[in-house]
Structures are given as C-alpha cells and as structure tokens.
Symmetry: D2
Subunit: 456 residues, 4 copies
C-alpha cells in the first residue's frame, strides 16, 4: 500500500558524564527515528565505570515499541550506549541482521550501528575473508565492524581503527562505534547520510536527525561534518578532520521525503525545503484550480508551499485512519472496498465540484495515487491535477535507499504523459532537477537517482 | 496524555441478500468506527439459511485489529451480522462487558449492540430483577437486551419487542438487534445518538456514522430518523415511526469532536460544521497574529475555518509521531522529555518569531494544551492565543459520554482568565453557545453539558 | 492419540476463617484436579469482610498453568472462593462456557462450579424460559445456576434455594455455590460424582477428590455424603440430609480411570481398587507369559495387580516422552514415525523374545493399543496378550462422561475375538462385571455404561 | 526443584538421498533428545541440489515444541540438516548462544552443532584472536566452528578441516558439521560423549542417542567410534579413523542418568545398566524392608533392579502430576504445600505401615529427597532406607556436564552419615565405584567426577 522508496536506518548514541542510565533516553530517541526503519530495533549499553567488556544488548525484529518493554529497558544498565532502527533490504528481514552488531575480539568488545551502504563491501569482505575472517551474516555492516576490529589490533585507539576503516570504505554512511570507554561517530566524506550532535543535561548525543535530540529534551549543537570523526570520552569531545575532502553531496531525498518534518539537516530545515519545493512546483506547473491538497502525510507540506505560491487555497482533503496499521486484514478481492480506502477517505465537502491540485513527494509504482484520484473523482472532484515534488525516479541508489526493481518503477517504463493517463490525472507535473536550489540553496547535493551522476 | 471526553461506542450491522459472508465487511466497518471506542470489539453473525439459533460470536478486549485475526474472521460465517466497538466507563474494562451481547431464551437467540446510555437503567433493572431476571453483568446494555427478550415472549415479532422496550427506556441510544432472520435498528426519539442507513451491493448496512458505510465501499442512503424503528428482513426494509416525538436534540459534540471528519450526520457534514465553528470563533475572538494552527488532529479543521475567516494563514505547526502508540514507555520523571513531546513536536520554522493562534476543540484538564504552549514558546513563538471551538464543559452527560469528575474539569474550578494564566496562553477564547447555529444551522441540538438543559 | 472416555470437570472450594487470601490455594488445588478437565479453568473469590457483591473472577480457555499467571492470581483477593476445571462436550469448547458461572440478580451475586450432567436439563430450561429466563449460553450448569437464583428469591437462605433446586434436578452432580458469605456444597443423592471435605490450617476445603486436599497441604476429613447439603459459614459447618435417599450408585469409572491414583473416594483407595482389578483380571484370564506391563499411565497399576496375582514379574515396558505435549507437531503421513511413537517408546531389553501381558483400563477406538502392540512386536515381543481392567464399553453415560458416538466404539461394532484380531493381539480379555466387587467391595456402584441399568 | 546434574546438549543430523525435506524429521528427533537440553533449540537445513550457501536456519530459546511451529518447519526446506537442543551453563541463557552456529567465510557457509566441552578452549580462542578472529559470542562451540572454518581454507575438504581441528581440541565432544554438500560427524577420541548412526528409508542419521533414530521410525546401525570422523555425501558414507587412540573413557553418567531409558550406547542398553546398578546396590546395601520404590522417573529402573535382586517387591509409590510444568506458580512461603508436593504425591496404600527402600540416581543438594522422605513418613511409612545408584558426586566435570558449585554439593560438605541424618533417612547407601563393572561390563568409562582421575 505504501508506494515510497525507503530509507534504511537511523542511529542514536549517547554518553552520560553523570553516570546515569541511558537506555530510556535511547528508547525515546529511537522512537523519534522510527520513520527511518521499522523492521528491527536494538540498543547496546555499557557502564564506563564497570569492568571492561560489560556490554548489554537487546535487539529484535519489530517496531521500537514492540521490541522494548519496560522490564527489558530497565535491565540495560549503562551510561553510554548506541541504538539502531533498521529497514532491511536484500538479505532478508531476519533477527540475525538486527543492529547494533556486537563483536568480541582480541582487544575486547565493540558495538556498531550503521546507516548507509558501502559500495565496495564485496571487495572488502573478500579481502577480509582471504585474511581468514569468518562472518555470521552477509551484511555490509558486519564487514565494516570486522574491519574496524581488525584495524584496532594494529592501532593505538579505537578512533584510529575507525579512521583506517573509513579510509577504505566507499559509499554513504553514518557510523556509531561503541567501545567500552568511548563513543566514536563518523560521517562519510561526502556527507551523503546525515548525522548531528546535541547535548541533553550531562549527556552528549549523536543522532541521524536533530528531531531525535529534541525529542529527548536535548538541544541541537551542530551537524557532524562530512568526513568528521568525532570521539566522545570522559574528557569530552575530540574531533579528527583528516578524512575530509572538498566535494560534498548531501542526499536530496532526505529533504524530499526521508527526514522528519521537524529536523534540520546541514543548516536547512526540512520543513522550509519542502515548502520551497512546493512553491517551485507551482511556478513550473501552474494550473487553474480551486483547492490544493497533499497525499497524507508525504505531500502535505509541499502542498502548503504550492498553495502559498499559487494563491489557490490549501485544504486537507483526506482523513487518515490511524487505527489501520501493519496488521490490519486487507479487504478481499470480492469486497467493494480496498486497502487504500480503509486507510484514507475523502472529505467530500472539500472536493465536490472542485478542481483539485494533488501533491505527493514521488511516484514509485503509481498504484496508490491512481486509487486516490479515483476516490477524489468518486466524491465529485471535477479535475485532478497531480504535482510531484521530485523529478522522476530513474536510477538506482547505491548509498542505502531501497528502490524497487527498474521494472516496477513507473517512470522507467512510461513517459510523463503515459503516467498521467495511467493514473487517471488531468495533468501531471514533476519537479525539475534545476529547481533543487530553490529547496536547498547552494548546498551540494547527491541527486544521482534522478540524473545518474554518482558522487562516489 | 489524551485530554478529551470520550464517546462510548460505535455499532455496525449488515444484511446481505446474496447470502455472502459479512464478517470481513463488518471488520472493515468497525475499523472505520474505531475512534468511537478502543477498549473492546466484537462481531456476531448468523446464517439466515441455516438452522435457527446458529449464531457465531467473537469478541474480546482490544482494538479491532488486535481482536480479529484472519482465521477468526473466516470462522464467522453468516450473511447477517452486527459489530460493536466500545469505550468503557465505570464498571471497568472487562471482557464480560464486551458487546454484542448474545442471549438465549424461550424464543431462540438474540444479539444486541448498543451505543448510548439509559438514564432509567437502574429502575428497569430492578423491575426485571423483581420479575426474576438474572444477569451476568451490570451494564445498562444487558438490561436492554433482557427487556427485549422478555417483551419478545408476549409479542408478535422482534420489532414489536424492540418497540415495547424502546417505549420504556429513556436516554440517548442507537441499538442494533439481531434475531436469526431479522436485523432491527432503532434510534432514540430525540436523535441524541447518530445512526444511518446505507447500501453496498446486495447488502443493507446500518452504522453509527456514514464514514463506515463509505469505508466498506457502500453508499449512504439516509439517516435513521430519531424514534425510527427500522427492520431489515429478506423482503427488504420495514419502517415503524410510532416512537417518534416532536422534540429532537442531536448531540452537538458529535460535530465538535466525536464523529469522524468525513461523516455526514443528520444532513450536516462534520467537516463543514467544524470549519464553520472555526469561522465563528474568529468572528467572536479576533486577534492580530501571524499563523493559525490546530492541535493535531482535534483542532486542525476548526483552525482552517479560523484562518479562512480571519485571513491569517493556516499552517501545520506540529509533527505527530504515529509510532508513539498506546504501549509506548513514557519518559520517566528524571528525563528532560515528556509524553506530549514524544507524540508531538513543533515545526520551528513555522513558529519562530511568530504570533500563533492555537485552536483545539475543548479543554478538559488543561494539561496537554499547557504543554503544547510551553513547547511553542520554547521554539520561539512570540505570542500564543488559544481558541476553543466549544464552550466550557460544565455539566455531566447522562447519554453516553465519558466525562471526568467535576473536580478534574478545569472549567469547573477556574474562570476563563484563570485558565488562560494556568495554561500559559496570551489570550483564551471559548466558543459561545449562541454560535452553535453557525455550525449546525437550525438542527435541534443537545448542549446540556454546556447549559444544563437536558432534553430527556 | 488419547483413546479414553473423558471425565468432564473438577471443583474446588475453600473458606478461610483467618481472612487469608485463598486464590493461590485454589490454584494449587485445581492443578491437582487438572486430570478431570483440560479445556478451561476458572477461579471466583469473595472477601467476606468486604461489601456484599464484591466478587472477583478470572477464567479462560486452557490449562490451569496457562490461564493463571502470578499477577492474575494476586489480583483475586478474597478469603472464600471456588475453582473449576472443565473438559467440554457438545456445545463446543468456548470461553463463554468456562466456569465458575457468576450471576447478578435481585438478591445479589452468586457463583457456581458444577461437575456432572443433569438428565432433565432441557425440561428445567424450558420451564425457566417459559417463566422468562434469559440465558447467555446453553449449558446445563447455567440452567442450574439460574434455578438456584430463582429459588433464592422465595427462600430464606442460599442453602434452602440449593435444596429446592436439588430436589428438581436429576442426574449426577457435585455442585459448589458461592454466595457472598457462604459456601454451599451438594452431591447428588446417588453419589454418582465424588466430593469430599478437608481442612487446611484455618480453612475448610471441598474438592472433587481427596488428592486436591492433600496437594494444598491439607488433611482429608470425610466424603460429602450422597444427597448431603453442606453449608460453610463464618460459624462453621452446617449439614442438611433431607435430600438423601436409600439407593446409591457411585461411578465405577472413577476407580477404573478418572480419579487420581492417590485419591480415596467413598472409603476406597483408587490405588487399591486398581490393584484389585488387575488381580481379578489375572484370575479370570490367566496366561503363560514372561512379563506383565501396562500402558502408561492408565494401565500401570492394574498391571502391578495382575503381576502380583499371577506371579509373572511386572516391568515398565514403555518410556514416555514428557516433552510431547498438546502442541507438538505430529509426524506427517510420509514419515515413518507416528504420533504414538513420538510419545511412547519400547524398552527393547524388556520385551525381546518375551511373552508380554499388556494391561490397559479400557479400549474406546482401539487405535492406540493396536499401535503399541505393533511396536512391541517390532522390538521382538514373541506374544502380546491384552487384558482390559473394565468390561467392554457399550452404553452411553448420561451423568457427565464424554463418550464417542456408538459408531466409534470398537466394542459396539465387533466381538471380543474380532477386536483381538483387529488390534493384533494374541489374546484379549476384558474384566467381567461380576468382578467389580473385587475392586469396590460392597459399595453400590453405577455401571450403566456396561450393563445399561441406569440408576436415575 | 530438580536436584540433578545436567547434560548440556543433544545433536541430530540427517542426509536424505531422495531429496525429501528433512526438517520435520529433525524436529521429531530433537523431541526425542529434549531430555539432553531444554533451554534452546535449533535446526539448520540445506538443499544439496540448490545453489551453494542456500542454508535455512531457525533457532530460539525454549523447548522444541515452543521454538518450532508448523509454519516455521515448513519454511525449512532442504534434504540435509542438523539440529541441536541445549542446556546452557555459564555464559547465560541467551538467544545468541542457541545452536546450530552458522558461519559465512571464504569457502562458503558451514553450520555446527556441538555436544560437549573443550578443555583448551581459552587457549584456542586466544590463538584465533591473535590471528585476527572476531567472535560474536564467547562459547567454546563458536571457537570450534571458527577453527574449522579457518582450517578449511588450507585444506582439501571440510572433513580434512574437521580432522585438523579435532587434532587440536581436547575434551569430550560430539560434533556435527554441515557444509553445503556434506554432513561430517566426529566423536572425541575417548568417546566421552555418545554419537550413533542410523538409517531411515533413504536417509542416513547421526544422533546423540539411538532413541532419536528409533523415534523417527529409523533403525540403529552402530555407534560412531571414539575418534571416528564420518563423512556423509551423495555417494554415501566415508570413514576416517586417523584420530583414534587406544584409551577410551565413556561417560558413566550417561548410563546412570543422562541418556534416555530406551537408548543403547556403545553396545549397552541404558535400561540393562540401570537394572544392574540397582542389583549391585541391593547386594552391597541389603536391608529388611517391605517395598522397594524409586524417585520418579530417575530412580525407577534401579529400583526395579534392587527389587529383583533383593526379592522385596517393587512398587510405584509416588504419583507424578504431569500438569505441573516449568511455568507453574510455586506455593508461597505461607502456604502449607510445597513445590515437590505439587509435582509428586504419595500413594498412601503402598506405604502406610511399611518399611520402604527409596532409590534415586544421585543426590546433589539433597533438598528434594529430604522432602520426599518427609512426605513418605507423613503417609505412615515406618522406615525409609535410601539407596543411591551412583557414588557421591565429589569432583567437577570438564567435559560438558553442569554441576553446581562445590559448596552446594552435599557430598562435599558432609559424611554419608551426616547426609543420612540431614535428609531424614533411616539408612543411606551409595553405589561403590567398584560396582560400575556390574553396569557397564568391561567398557572403559570416565568416572572422574567420583574419583578425580580425568582421562584428558
């Protein structure tokens, strides 16, 4: 039913200098990052005053609220820790792939939480295999963790091992590494994946998005810079810039869809970017209409922007039934209702006799939007003009976004006109790549999924 | 965390003339009525071609999606049926009180689904007890069911028994009665509780709200009239108006908060009523401001109305985390976050430096709105003006709405000025009773909870 | 897999004069009675010092250990209470039929736990129905409960209502009735169903079998006499013999199979009766053999008796896998193993080259014993002589035992010789009715299922 | 409540040449080995006709019947596979330690199931760590699996890697290694742990005990020899004896308690050994008595042997309540019953006025036997003479048996006379080490836990 590309993961780390237990705070932080991954969740904590290697882990398949019960959280005692939410791609959705990963090796114990994808994972894995590495799973995250452990043996510190590993891996990533006394955070040199720093009372926090820092009652300090290795210890923060390069390429899809509306990434409010996107769309594809609306919740803010720029009033047009969740039993073929209808219903007074502009952030397969247009017409909409606040999605992402096969991508198989007909719209307009600066100013962005120019 | 009065129940009934199984359709209908009751759910079906008394029941504590799994639905075979969702008040939330109620007696089997509250339940119960009635629980619904069964013995038909019972009971109610070959629906003479009729293929449907008819792919026919007894049999519909009286008193809170946004009750779209309410509020309590917004989701539509009338732009101002559900572990006292913050977060770009009008439908205890105002100020709001799209809630409801004790109702213990100070708002304005016609035209309404004038 | 007739229920009641909570003790007692019913379990308690009507109930489908968790038990506060385990027959295995039954009526609340079956239930039910009674289920237990409640209205006391009810009901039964201040126990005038009295510290106990009294650390006082109505109050015990008649007819199957090995019923140890039964069988059907053994666990004690009388040594011959429970996944058709083999395996050293006497308590369908004989021969048994410690089961039981349809009873469809051939035995001998006095002396017994002479 | 030393694991492997799915058969086999480990269970299967590395795993904490549901079994498709049941010792009972272990490495995938304990695990682990190995857990089984994977890289075959690994590891073990096309079984050179070979239709089976082969409908072929490496491939069996040594030391406790009654290990029936043990005990510690009995189920067979030798009749004396399982709620301190009493009850007719010989296989803490003696006296036993079919347990086992701390071993802290007084027996006799040949003939045995002479 959900017709979107998927972000793969979210990470959250915390170091409490006051020796307070951090598991409940990680839990709240992961709840705020749940939109980045709904298949598994995990927390690893460590007491920096306890014996080395005294690490506690709890992870399982499911939502944060399903994986953690109060009893489980209370057992996770420690003043530093990392957490992870995951949406799994190929390799399957199995408990063995739940993160954080925990390893035992010559130098002790380390844990890793990883958001992103490594493009040279196979090469690194083979290299490690040839040197005798033995793996439990097949994920690139495990490969990174093994590499760090391996490098740690010939290094002076865990941060040096992280540095040496980061020099070798290519792709987009945000990594959190927990060793018994240190929390190391590193962001890929291009800054493809987001990662930021905050403070909450006696604690330092690193998280995929600023919304997680605010959700635990903390304050945002700054983004971790692309290529920055940040080490948090008892003594405080220690920054290493030696990985940094000149080029940057922040993922544009974080602003279009992935990141939460209340997050600020690399200096730009997600909300502002989406409003601006809607405004650009209104300038590029204006239309005479009575109402602007968005697909809940992915298209709502761009719709507000479109309305603002076009002068056509914005309105909520669909009611979303929040009780229709993952476990609801879909209507059968014989029934007159369908799954989209169970989740969303049209506010008829808003649409009857009206010309509607309907905004969404993207079209992947096109099934959901076709259903919604059908429902709008069924409630008396005179015209339905679709505007999409991103360009047609044409190329695969190698940095950690889950995209269906080319054959399932409607934009790969049809022209814009054909798509328009296929979904039953009166007109269809996609955002143009040249409009991105309206959203993100002169921030260097990765837009390879639209133009095939891969930064790495 | 949720600071609202609660509707107590929703009902859904269906008669399929084509002998198709109706359990899946009732399930979809109950999902659409879930907002009317989240504590228990149940379905009873019967095969009108099978032997008399061949009734199947499944009911339990929990949400519709928790109570019913595919296997359980598939076992409920029958072409007529009724369903119920319940929010329990005093008497406790126990499985014995889950509806529909099923009884076996001299004339066979009957099942009952009830939304509402009977004001003379104790008197009727005692009367029945004196005549030898023996009950399994203590609810007024069981009392009604027993009364119907008792009357059935001296009556020619189940609909006559329902009529005789309805003559005796006082209060607000919508009842569905399933006997092996008939489905009887009755609405209280004042029309306090809603009930409507629809059609879906070969099926007739009766439901608390029109949204449930649409959600199953059906079409709305009309409201059941106050005091109407509608009997559905193999031959079709049969209407009895002999209960009807002149007075009517439709519950105003259905329009303010209870009913779903996409429902139409007694000729008035809930959406339109809420827009109109927001507009009336803007006329009565105008204010200089930069943004109008609503508490998600209860205040959003009235906020759109306020914006429309005042010319101040509407904006979404909060992000709602849909992953924070009933089972989430609340932040502890020591943590800097709170439960409201886990569920809602401020879109800072919208509020920084701005004068905000914040709309909600009501204030019961005042704790949630105080938290939200505090969060808005923390994100830089210059002023926060609160507008409430209902008058202060002062009197108990005897017709099936769950209201906290007087001592917990903020409006019973403070003046408007004191409430304004207590919640930290810059100004506070409640809708006036005289504004209700803006919302519901000349529909006769029950507004006893605001003015102490009880229709029954 | 289990080829036995089934007892339908067990009851346990307790009155603690020291005001201690009794729920944990009832739980232990029900565990000891679990062999009498495995489909549902329930406990009702009441605090005799609390307000009238203050009754707490917990009941559900499942074993005692599945239905009750520590938290649930701790919530059941009260110093008097009754418990029930149930094996359901016709009417289906549904939660609505779980006992104890709790009723609310003019005189307050009462709860009932019932073991047995009423032969005139339909007549009583119709009578009640005609007087206006409305039922929630269809069981004879509910009929009894309603009758007691009805009689209570015109009676001076609950025990008088129980007496009046007992005068009207026919069949075999043991009833426990809990009213807010009293516990009433009654046994049918023929004494078909067992019921006994014990003491444990400050508590009086009534239970279906003495083993339950001992299991909670109490001591057996005496059997409740057939037709005795025993009322336990704060003041102590009060006995009413007015129901008593001359005839008695204790169910012989309690001694043969139903009752637990360590119980003593109406003066006779179950263990002794089974030993004596085995001895009688040895006298009636002697055979030259090397080893006597029994089907675990139903035939073991009679086998010890046969061994004792015949002089042939007894041996354990099967190992029982206690990990193969109700939820185990049976071998599929294609597999070489079968369900009996997963549960029981042959001790080959005991049987190789030996002539075996194999004892069981009864043959219902004959499938299990056929499997066991096949397994014994597969392990080298030279001969297998089957002896059954009851006569062929030929007639239905109307007093609360679950017997398959006649068509499934092997003894109804074959001669003893044919059965012998069909199960693959070398010889087969059933106990003769005339041997019962060996087991139960001159205790008057009900043996209608063997000889068609029904006492009631 | 259970006062025994624990065996740590059971293993089951199968190769079906007819390409049938083996998961259901492994499930049945693990059910038959459940007595060897109740904390976790797992199955790994592979389709030898599918692509290399196509391995499916399901494992979790719990009993076999809890871990596997039909759906899960049906998903495990493959014609070769291994399964494991585990009782965990130090390191805790966590899902990460559930077996079989699955590894991915340069040569593909391998899975390992291990029963036993390696005495030089720390040394091997450190050696691997120094060479760069990174572990997920801390168990010796993981160390072995890594070692095999490591050796595989420089070897011609998986069986050669197993050989090289086996040359390095010390201790008692039975290992099953699954590579995509081969199943390798190896037993430690001393034969401390049991392992045997069977056939079932088109399948070869290896299992810890012969009972598992019979339980799946197969036939026992022979024991795997100590030090034998058996490789099963499409072509059949391939045997390698190069690990073999002259000394052997079969664990005597398998015969005394661990192995299932119907198993035959290294040519000796467990049943025969226990009968012989009881007979030896009768010769060494005769006593005048009326009845011989055993603690269910651990002492029953030795009791039959004692009875046979002494001429004193054997009798069952306790009833075991099979409904009292792992989840039952123990009686509280205040209650008059205790946990032993809930599980076992005395058959009073057997013991009243009698002199009892009570046999068990061992005494660890002494609490359970003390309770039983107390219960026997409470039921009128005149004398209770305890006989134990093993010597006092004095020394730790390094080969995979879980023994409590010395401080908890009653035999380490008291003389036999003191133990006798402490448990309340009239006399107490332990089997003598010199009696072992009665049980196991001239089979070389490991009896280090009694005499401190460790074979390895």
């Amino acid at each position: 039913m959900d017709d979107h590309v998927k972000e793969e993961c979210g990470v959250f780390g915390i170091w409490n200098l006051g020796n307070e237990s951090v598991a409940h705070t990680i839990y709240q932080g992961l709840l705020a990052l749940q939109h980045r991954g709904q298949e598994s969740a995990g927390i690893v904590v460590c007491d920096t005053n306890g014996p080395i290697g005294n690490i506690c882990t709890h992870k399982d398949m499911g939502l944060v609220s399903e994986v953690f019960h109060k009893e489980a959280l209370d057992k996770l005692r420690g003043n530093i820790g990392i957490g992870h939410v995951r949406y799994s791609t190929a390799g399957g959705s199995v408990v063995a792939n739940a993160q954080p990963i925990v390893l035992n090796y010559l130098k002790g114990t380390l844990a890793l939480a990883h958001n992103g994808n490594i493009t040279n994972a196979d090469e690194l894995r083979l290299e490690l295999s040839k040197e005798g590495a033995i793996f439990n799973g097949t994920s690139d995250s495990e490969t990174i963790a093994y590499r760090i452990a391996k490098e740690r043996i010939g290094s002076d510190s865990i941060e040096q091992a992280v540095y040496k590993t980061a020099k070798r891996i290519k792709g987009g990533y945000a990594l959190l590494v927990l060793s018994p006394r240190k929390l190391v955070a590193v962001r890929d040199p291009y800054g493809i994946k987001p990662l930021c720093l905050g403070k909450c009372g006696d604690s330092y926090i690193v998280a995929s998005e600023s919304c997680a820092i605010l959700a635990v009652g903390g304050e945002f300090i700054r983004d971790i810079e692309p290529g920055e290795i940040l080490t948090i210890t008892k003594e405080g923060l220690c920054v290493d810039h030696s990985l940094q390069i000149k080029e940057r390429a922040h993922c544009i899809f974080e602003y279009i869809y992935f990141a939460r509306l209340d997050s600020k990434l690399d200096g730009i409010n997600v909300y502002d970017a989406r409003i601006a996107g809607g405004m650009a769309l209104a300038r590029r594809y204006p239309v005479e209409a009575d109402v602007v609306t968005g697909v809940p919740d992915s298209g709502l803010v761009a719709a507000v922007g479109y309305a603002k720029e076009s002068g056509i009033p914005f309105s909520l047009t669909f009611h979303k039934n929040s009780y229709v969740g993952r476990t609801f039993i879909k209507p059968t073929q014989e029934e007159r209702a369908n799954a989209v209808q169970a989740k969303l219903s049209v506010l008829e007074p808003v649409v009857r006799g009206k010309r509607i502009v309907l905004i969404d952030d993207s079209i992947v397969r096109g099934t959901t939007i076709a259903n919604l247009i059908h429902m709008l017409r069924g409630c008396g909409a005179k015209e339905v003009h679709v505007r999409i606040s991103s360009p047609p999605f044409l190329y695969p992402c190698y940095y950690g976004t889950d995209v269906p096969d080319n054959s399932q991508l409607i934009a790969n198989n049809m022209t814009v006109e054909e798509i328009c007909t296929s979904i039953g719209a009166d007109s269809l307009g996609y955002m143009d790549i040249s409009d991105f600066p309206c959203m993100t100013g002169n921030l260097p962005i990765c837009k390879a999924c639209f133009d095939n120019r891969y930064p790495v």
